[in-house]
C-alpha cells in the first residue's frame, strides 16, 4: 500500500497545535494562542441552544470510548426542570493502554476548562465537577492551578465575562477504582459512595448526581467544544468522516519505535498511526497483533492494519475503537500470558455487585492462568468461551463485557496458540515476555 492511500485527510491540529509552547498550561500561555475567545463568543453572542446545535452538527462522538454523540446526549436533558443541572466530566482515565486525557489535562488544561464552561453554558449547568482519577496527581494539580487562574481572571465563578452566566468548576479526586469510569458508578462515587454502577434507566440526563439532571462527558469530548464554537459544527464534522466528526487523539504504546499520542482526523487508517506516527516496530521482530483502544477491545491482526480508525469501521471489523490508544505487540509475545494479565485486571476491578461479573472474572482469570501454565482444561477453549458468554450482557454495567470480549477475541484470533497450550505442561510460545514468571 502506498503512503498516499492512507495519508490523513488533514494536517490540522486543535488540542495539540500549541504543545511546543512550554507555557501553554498557563492562562497567559493559552491566551497567547487565542484562548478563551470561544468562551467570550459563546457567552456573549450565542444562546445555549445555538451552542447545542453546533455541537450536534459537529458529530462529535464520546471520546471516552463508547462513541455516543455528545450533541444527542445533551438533547436528553429535560426541557423543563426545577432542579439544578450538573455537568460532570469523566477524567477517570484508567482503561489499560490509554494515556490521552492526561496529556490534555497536564499540557493544555485551559482549552479543556474552556470547553467545560461552554458545555455548562450550553446545558445551563452552574456547577461542573471534574472527576479525575485519584492516581493522576499531576493532572489534578494542573487542573486546580488552571481553575484558580481562571477564577482570578473572572472566567470561572459569578457573572463570567460580564455575561450574567455563573459557573463553578471543581476537581473531584477519585480514590482508585477502575469501575468509576462507568458513568453511573462515577456519579455514585461523586456522591461519596462506593462506586457501584446504577441500573439504567433512568439515565443520568434525567436522574444523575444528587438526583438531578446530569450530563457526563469525557475530557477530550468537551475539550473540542471551544474550536467548534469558534469555527462551527459543520467545519468540525468535515474534518472527519461520515458519522464520525472531527479530530481525535490517538496513542500508540508497546513494541513500537516511537510511542506517543497524536491528533489525527477520524477515519485515518490504523496503518498510518502505526507506521508513520509510531514508526512501526521497535526491533527486528514482526508485528504479531494490536490491542486497539484499551484492554477491553478484542485484538487485531497485522492484516487488519488498513481499518479506518472510526467507531463504525472498528465495530465492523469485530472490535472497538475504544479510546483510540493502541497497544502493539511483536512476535514472541505469548497471547495467553497477555490475556491472563488483562483477565486479572478485570477480576481485580469488578465491583462485586453482579454475580456473573464478580464470579466470572475470577473464574476466567484462573482458567487462563492454568492454560498459560500448560495445564489440561476440561472442555478446552470452548469452555473458556462459554464462561465469557455467561458474563456478556448479564451485568448492570459494561465491565463484565469488557472482561469477556477481549478474551473471546484472543481465542478467535490466536486459536492455534491457545490450543497448543492445553495440556502442554508449559508455555509453548518459545520466547515469553522475556522470561518473567507467571503473571499471578
Amino acid at each position: 500500500m502506498n503512503a498516499k492511500n492512507y495519508a490523513p485527510k488533514t494536517d490540522l491540529k486543535i488540542l495539540t497545535a500549541h504543545l511546543s509552547d512550554p507555557e501553554l498550561h498557563t492562562l497567559k500561555g493559552y491566551q497567547r494562542h487565542g484562548g478563551y475567545t470561544a468562551l467570550r463568543k459563546g457567552l456573549t453572542k450565542m444562546t445555549p441552544d445555538e451552542i447545542k446545535a453546533e455541537v450536534k452538527a459537529a458529530n462529535i462522538r464520546g471520546r471516552g470510548g463508547a462513541g455516543f454523540p455528545a450533541g444527542i446526549k445533551w438533547g436528553f436533558l429535560p426541557k423543563e426542570t426545577d432542579k439544578p443541572i450538573y455537568l460532570v466530566i469523566n477524567a477517570d482515565e484508567g482503561e489499560p493502554g490509554t494515556f490521552k486525557d492526561r496529556l490534555i489535562m497536564e499540557r493544555n488544561p485551559h482549552e479543556f476548562l474552556e470547553g467545560c464552561l461552554l458545555a455548562s453554558y450550553a446545558i445551563q449547568a452552574h456547577t461542573c465537577y471534574i472527576y479525575i482519577r485519584g492516581e493522576l496527581v499531576s493532572s489534578i494539580r494542573r487542573m486546580n492551578e488552571a481553575i484558580g487562574e481562571a477564577r482570578a481572571a473572572g472566567l470561572v465563578g459569578k457573572n463570567i465575562l460580564g455575561s450574567g452566566f455563573d459557573c463553578e468548576v471543581y476537581v473531584h479526586q477519585g480514590a482508585g477504582a477502575y469501575v468509576c469510569g462507568e458513568e453511573t458508578a462515577l456519579i455514585e462515587s461523586l456522591e461519596g459512595k462506593a462506586g457501584q454502577p446504577r441500573n439504567k434507566p433512568p439515565f443520568p440526563a434525567l436522574y444523575g448526581v444528587f438526583g438531578c439532571p446530569t450530563i457526563v462527558n469525557n475530557v477530550e469530548t468537551v475539550a473540542y467544544v471551544p474550536w467548534v464554537v469558534n469555527n462551527g459544527g459543520q467545519a468540525y464534522a468535515d474534518l472527519g468522516v461520515e458519522r464520525n466528526g472531527g479530530l481525535k487523539l490517538f496513542g500508540a504504546s508497546g513494541h513500537v519505535k516511537n510511542p506517543g499520542v497524536w491528533e489525527l482526523p477520524m477515519g485515518t487508517s490504523m496503518r498510518y498511526l502505526f507506521e508513520e506516527c509510531a514508526g512501526g516496530m521497535r526491533g527486528n521482530k514482526p508485528l504479531k497483533g494490536i490491542i486497539p483502544g484499551g484492554s477491553s477491545c478484542p485484538p487485531m491482526l497485522p492484516n487488519e492494519l488498513d481499518t479506518p480508525l472510526d467507531f463504525d469501521a472498528m465495530m465492523k471489523a469485530g472490535t472497538m475503537m475504544g479510546t483510540g490508544c493502541i497497544a502493539v505487540f511483536e512476535e514472541g509475545v505469548c497471547t495467553v500470558k497477555l490475556a491472563a494479565r488483562i483477565a486479572r485486571f478485570y477480576k481485580h476491578e469488578s465491583c462485586g455487585q453482579c454475580t456473573p461479573c464478580r464470579e466470572g472474572t475470577g473464574w476466567l482469570f484462573r482458567q487462563i492462568q492454568r492454560l498459560e501454565a500448560g495445564e489440561h482444561i476440561e472442555g478446552g477453549l470452548d469452555f473458556l468461551d462459554s464462561i465469557c458468554d455467561r458474563i456478556l450482557g448479564n451485568t448492570i454495567c459494561a465491565l463484565g463485557d469488557a472482561a469477556a470480549m477481549p478474551i473471546q477475541g484472543f481465542i478467535k484470533k490466536f486459536r492455534d496458540e491457545w490450543e497448543a497450550h492445553i495440556g502442554a505442561g508449559h508455555c509453548p510460545v518459545t520466547v515469553g515476555m522475556s522470561g518473567a514468571k507467571a503473571v499471578g
Binding site: 482515565e93 484508567g94 490509554t98 485519584g134 499531576s138 482508585g176 444528587f210 496513542g251 515476555m433
Partner: protein, 197 residues
C-alpha cells in the same frame, strides 16, 4: 492513637463541603485530606479506625458508611505503609516493555512481596494497574511522583518533565531500567527523614 484534623485542615474540610449540596459528597476528598495529614504527621500513613471515626464525626455520617467507602477504594491505606510507596505498573503496555521484570527486581532488592513493607518502614511495594503513562512505559510511581521519562528516574518536579507527543522516545533496555531502579532506591535510602512526598 486518636486523630483530629488540624485547624487548618478543618477550614479546608469546610471549604470542601461547600462545593457540594450535602456532606456525604465530600467524603472522598476529606478522606484524602485525612490520609495526607496522617502521612505528614507520622510514620504509618494509613486511615486507621480512629481516623475513619473522626471523618464520620466531622461530616456527620454513620461510621459504617465511612468504612464502607474507605475499604472500597484502593488509594486509602488500610494498614501502615512505608514512607515511599513504590508502585510498579504491569498492565498491558508495561507488561510488554519490562514492567514485570522491574516489579520482580524490586521484590528482590527490597525483600518484600506485593503490598509488603520493608522492616525499616521506608518502602512499601505495590503492583499497580495502568497509570496512564503507556507512552513512556514501563511506568513507575513513587508516592505521588510519576516517572514521566521512559528511563526510571525519581523526579522532584512533575508534569514539566515530559514530552509526550510523538517525539522519538528513547527506548532503554530492561537491564538499564533495572540499574536505574537500583539508583532510585539508593537515593531514597539516603534522603533525610521528612515529609513523605
Amino acid at each position: 492513637m486518636s486523630f483530629e484534623f488540624t485547624e487548618e485542615n478543618l477550614r479546608q474540610v469546610k471549604e470542601i463541603v461547600s462545593r457540594y449540596p450535602n456532606t456525604e459528597a465530600a467524603l472522598l476528598p476529606v478522606l484524602h485530606l485525612a490520609q495526607d495529614q496522617v502521612q505528614a504527621q507520622g510514620p504509618e500513613g494509613y486511615v486507621s479506625p480512629d481516623v475513619l471515626d473522626h471523618v464520620a464525626h466531622v461530616l456527620d455520617l454513620p461510621p459504617v458508611k465511612v468504612r464502607q467507602v474507605a475499604t472500597f477504594y484502593t488509594m486509602y491505606n488500610k494498614a501502615p505503609v512505608g514512607r515511599y510507596h513504590v508502585q510498579v505498573c504491569t498492565n498491558v503496555a508495561c507488561h510488554l516493555t519490562g514492567g514485570v521484570e522491574i516489579f520482580e527486581h524490586f521484590k528482590k532488592t527490597l525483600g518484600v512481596g506485593n503490598h509488603g513493607t520493608t522492616d525499616d518502614g521506608l518502602f512499601t511495594l505495590e503492583e499497580v494497574e495502568c497509570l496512564a503513562a503507556c507512552g513512556t512505559a514501563p511506568a513507575l510511581q513513587i508516592n505521588d511522583r510519576y516517572d514521566l521519562d521512559n528511563t526510571i528516574r525519581y523526579y522532584e518536579q512533575t508534569a514539566d518533565n515530559y514530552e509526550h507527543v510523538g517525539n522519538g522516545q528513547r527506548r532503554t533496555s530492561i537491564a538499564e531500567l533495572i540499574k536505574w531502579s537500583d539508583q532510585i532506591i539508593d537515593e531514597l535510602r539516603k534522603k533525610p527523614e521528612g515529609r513523605r512526598s
